[in-house]
């Protein structure tokens, strides 16, 4: 019996790991995704129950209370969150996961302190690593959350000698880490390590601007997985290592996809403070001074849309902020009633996190076969009568194709300027996230409809109804 229990726990962990892999696999297709999520959740349940059987665990009452508190908070958050706020939610959860992993490492350190026995070198190394990754994930995610919530400005925050300062901190961390290896019982050194990790997380997210949030969220997602893995190394628990590695890999893949969609390297996203005042002045913005825009009113817009054969709607984050997705679907319904072929073109970085726009439109009951990825839809714009851009900016800027001086040069875009006509619904002439002027607005074929996305689309709907 004494031999049986530990093996049973290990086998349960193996089962849980397998269920995580199957679950992730099934998350990859719309038909099986929900089941996949459920399978992963069952894996987690098995892992938790198996752990509770461990003989190390003695104070069940407090643990039950802690699990209850966590479950209630988690369930309420999941129920209450708006779909537009999904990036914040994921950011916050990443942070909690990272914090938990770091706390596990800190707890293990204190256990060694009490024991005052000899601490193996590998143990100290994994604890230090775990504290570093977990700490960065925790404060980095919290700052990303605060930025996304709009509690502080989303624009990049920089200060002089930022990079040298960060490097110095990192060097300090390595130095202190080395000290701890020599004297593993030095609490002061350990606390310095914890503090530096937390500060590094903030410094890491601080200079990253709003346009790059999808990358940061993906990267922090990856970090939260690596943090769990690191905690797994501290406890020498294979399941933690496996589950963490899976999440780490998934986050890295999403990060790469996002970087590719913006034609930027990860290093560039992390260190260039893209979109800060400095970058914009460096851009060869041939000022818009004497160029004119064609402005139309909603009635004219409705005529163009209603009598078109094909319309491609390009939703951007502006649409989501205005909560206009339901009205947009209504417009599409009305147009389809008139026999117009309506499609949606989704840029990979539309919204604030990977796939965000798809979720927002799904919430508004837009059937997902109508949503088209950039590669699919771009060849179709030439045959499209009207491209309707709602609250998107940088992702439709033709400068990305030809203006070498533009900061967004080389970024793959939705080629709405190739459509016969383009209608742009926009609040005003402000530049996009990247701070770049959009030449699309000055083209002859482009009509501007100024106003809040929701108001304008509502007016379009009522005008189209009268056609």
């Amino acid at each position: 019996m004494n031999e049986f229990l530990p093996s049973a726990i290990q086998l349960s962990y193996l089962t849980a790991s397998a269920l995580f892999i199957i679950g992730l696999k099934q998350l990859g297709s719309p038909a099986t995704a929900r089941k996949g999520n459920g399978i992963a959740a069952i894996g987690m349940l098995i892992a938790v129950v198996a752990t509770l059987l461990d003989r190390q665990i003695l104070n069940y009452e407090m643990i039950a209370v802690a699990i209850a508190i966590g479950s209630i908070i988690g369930a309420v958050m999941a129920q209450r969150v708006e779909m537009t706020a999904m990036p914040q939610m994921v950011g916050l959860l990443n942070g909690f996961g990272g914090a938990a992993s770091a706390l596990v490492a800190v707890g293990e350190f204190w256990k060694y302190l009490d024991g005052a026995e000899f601490v193996p070198l590998s143990e100290t190394i994994t604890i230090v690593l775990s504290v570093l990754i977990g700490g960065i994930t925790f404060t980095g995610s919290l700052l990303a959350f605060v930025k996304l919530e709009g509690w502080i400005s989303g624009s990049p925050i920089t200060f002089p000698f930022q990079q040298p300062f960060n490097l110095t901190l990192l060097a300090l961390f390595l130095g202190a880490g080395g000290l701890l290896l020599i004297n593993p019982h030095n609490t002061a050194t350990f606390l310095v390590l914890v503090a530096i990790s937390l500060v590094l997380g903030i410094l890491f997210v601080l200079p990253i601007g709003g346009a790059d949030t999808p990358v940061v969220i993906s990267l922090l997602n990856s970090f939260s997985g690596l943090a769990a893995s690191a905690a797994g190394f501290v406890l020498m628990n294979n399941m933690l290592i496996i589950a963490g590695a899976l999440v780490g890999a998934s986050g890295i893949i999403l990060t790469q996809i996002m970087c590719k969609a913006m034609n930027r390297s990860l290093a560039n996203v992390l260190f260039s403070a893209f979109g800060s005042a400095k970058t914009i002045s460096g851009a060869g913005s041939d000022t818009a001074g004497d160029r004119t825009v064609h402005q139309i009113d909603p009635e004219e817009g409705a005529m163009m849309l209603g009598y078109a054969r094909s319309v491609v709607i390009v939703p951007g984050y502006g649409m989501a902020v205005a909560q206009a997705q339901h009205t947009v679907r209504e417009l599409a319904d009305q147009l389809e009633r008139l026999g117009v072929d309506v499609k949606y073109a989704i840029h990979p970085v539309a919204g604030r996190m990977p796939g965000h726009m798809n979720v927002l439109l799904a919430e508004a009951n837009v059937p997902y076969p109508k949503l088209h990825d950039m590669e699919d839809i771009n060849p179709e714009f030439e045959r499209t009568d009207v491209a309707l851009v709602i609250g998107a900016n940088d992702v439709v800027n033709p400068a990305a194709r030809h203006d070498v001086a533009s900061p967004i040069y080389g970024m793959p875009i939705l080629e709405v300027d190739r459509a016969h006509h383009t209608i742009v619904i926009k609040r005003g002439m402000n530049a996009g996230f990247s701070g770049v002027e959009n030449e699309l607005f000055y083209k002859d074929k482009t009509m501007m409809l100024f106003g809040g996305a929701k108001d304008v689309v509502e007016q379009l709907v009522s005008s189209v109804k009268e056609l």
Binding site: G28, I73, L93, F233, L246, G248, P367
Partner: protein, 97 residues
């Protein structure tokens, strides 16, 4: 101890490759649910937290462990539930289409 570390590295490396293989080629439609779902899996730190929090006597380790249990549980429960909520919308829509 070092041997265990090496075993851990082997497991980590192989799991990372599996992760890359399994998640590659996922359609953009599902990127957000994938992220929130995998996010919930990273709450596996709850297992580590339980082990740390499990000691009988009250001390700093147990308190830190219990805080970790709360945070990781929020991560797990919130992550799985919100993913399910999102995927439910995808499903409903599929029926309409």
């Amino acid at each position: 101890m070092t041997e265990a570390l090496v075993t851990g590295l082997v497991v980590f490396t192989l799991a990372t490759f599996i992760g890359f293989e399994v998640i590659n080629k996922i359609p953009p439609t599902l990127h957000t649910p994938l992220m929130s779902g995998s996010n919930a899996i990273s709450g596996i730190a709850v297992v580590g937290a339980l082990l740390v929090a499990g000691e009988e006597n009250w001390n700093l380790t147990v308190i830190l462990g219990l805080i970790a249990v709360i945070l990781a549980t929020i991560n797990v429960v919130g992550g799985f539930l919100v993913t399910d909520r999102m995927l439910q919308m995808f499903k409903k829509k599929e029926g309409n289409a």
